[in-house]
Symmetry: D2
Subunit: 143 residues, 4 copies
């Protein structure tokens, strides 16, 4: 995968989110694109009250959403804003309960084919512990 | 798995949600327990605007949450209100985009061990089409 | 999925295996197609010594192979002998250690699209206990 | 996971395979432990004819077995020879068809708990392309 080169910058992806996928901001601007580099994208989540569980952790659906959005964005960063790319499968392992604070998801393209992309996602807390890990498959629409 | 017998009724589970896991009602009472039977639980989702995607479908994180809550409840229905049962792995396949309307999740216990439970979840739309399917593993705390 | 109709019979599938995919018989005729019906195919495995583990169970790779072959066959049963259909993802849960004896895999089409198929596989022992369960995604070649 | 330290060396693991899990050598000595380091183990497969598919690739069940054995070994390398550690879930993505030649699997501990371990496996060909990726969960027996 060494030859992969992004075709969108972090700010172009932020603009795409704002104009084409604004429902991701339903809870305010909790997601921020931190970095786009060859085969990788990092997305940060700053959780708000509705993402937390009593006892003090970030909810499973919130971690799922973070992985799913970040995986989608690493694909778009490399193929352009093909909005209708869709998740077909996502497998997520919950390893440690994250504390209620910012989380970074690092998504890496494992495969970028014409029809399918496979992405690995590591969700890390502020101590760089991997609290959850996901792999996901996306179907890329025909041009 | 023929010998499995629920130890909580649908209304006891609703009561558990209201008193012990009320964050599930953050968006209002969108989840309702429809049925509890041996090895099975059915949970209904009545989506509201924030669960939808433009173009008219229910979002992936919403389907994930429906499967995850329903799988958790089928376990509790059979072991009692052991709140600290946690998801360790969830694999979800998105087969068809559901229309924006009520969805039923049917969760079936594939295994109920002392330490681990494995659950299958079928998410069906009003035409009984399986729009998404998940399997999940939960860790059951020691007594 | 009610409208799905097989386009190959069990004996046509057996013939396909013998002539096009004979490596499945590397250990002798351990796999037999038991049934083909709308959206379903049942494949039987009669394990031999090399499929067993000391202590008396069938090995994980053998259960994987049973699920993978059976899922492939339920797709071909419904689209015809498109040999180059390939597994892109397989998620398997091991619930109970099977005794060393015959196992049946029942594969059910959850989705049969033009490009992707999703299949559920239940592996049952002679007491009808589900010892393992898998879901798999296959990529279907363009015609 | 920085604090993880192996408690077995590569040659101790090879000895464990030879004496306690010799069925892994049913096809001859196709698996070799290449490296054991903190949180990681590398296992090499030298495929023989029965692992190949016509057209020239390594079969899916062979890749599954490589990931499963390597994940099992990285756990044992860090907890000692607890033979009855068992796979409960394995999710594998097949990205590229490997050519018929040696493959390396690199397994990394994502979590090593008292009851559960989660492992990531990357299977690489001789060009360091990731041909398949797996994540697996293992249940660790009580001492």
């Amino acid at each position: 995968m060494t030859e992969l080169t992004p075709v969108m910058t972090a700010s172009e992806i932020e603009h795409f989110l704002d104009t084409q996928f604004s429902e991701v901001h339903v809870d305010g601007r909790v997601f921020s694109v931190i970095d786009v580099s060859p085969a990788k994208t990092t997305l940060r989540l700053d959780p708000i009250a509705r993402h937390l569980r009593p006892g003090g952790t970030v909810s499973g659906p919130t971690l799922f959403a973070l992985a799913d959005v970040c995986a989608y964005l690493v694909i778009l960063a490399h193929i352009g804003p093909m909005k209708h790319t869709v998740t077909t499968n996502l497998n997520i392992n919950f390893m440690h309960k994250p504390k209620p604070g910012p989380l970074n998801c690092v998504s890496t393209l494992l495969k970028l084919g014409k029809r399918l992309a496979v992405v690995n996602c590591d969700i890390l807390d502020e101590n760089k512990t991997i609290v959850a890990q996901a792999t996901a498959t996306y179907s890329i629409p025909s041009k």
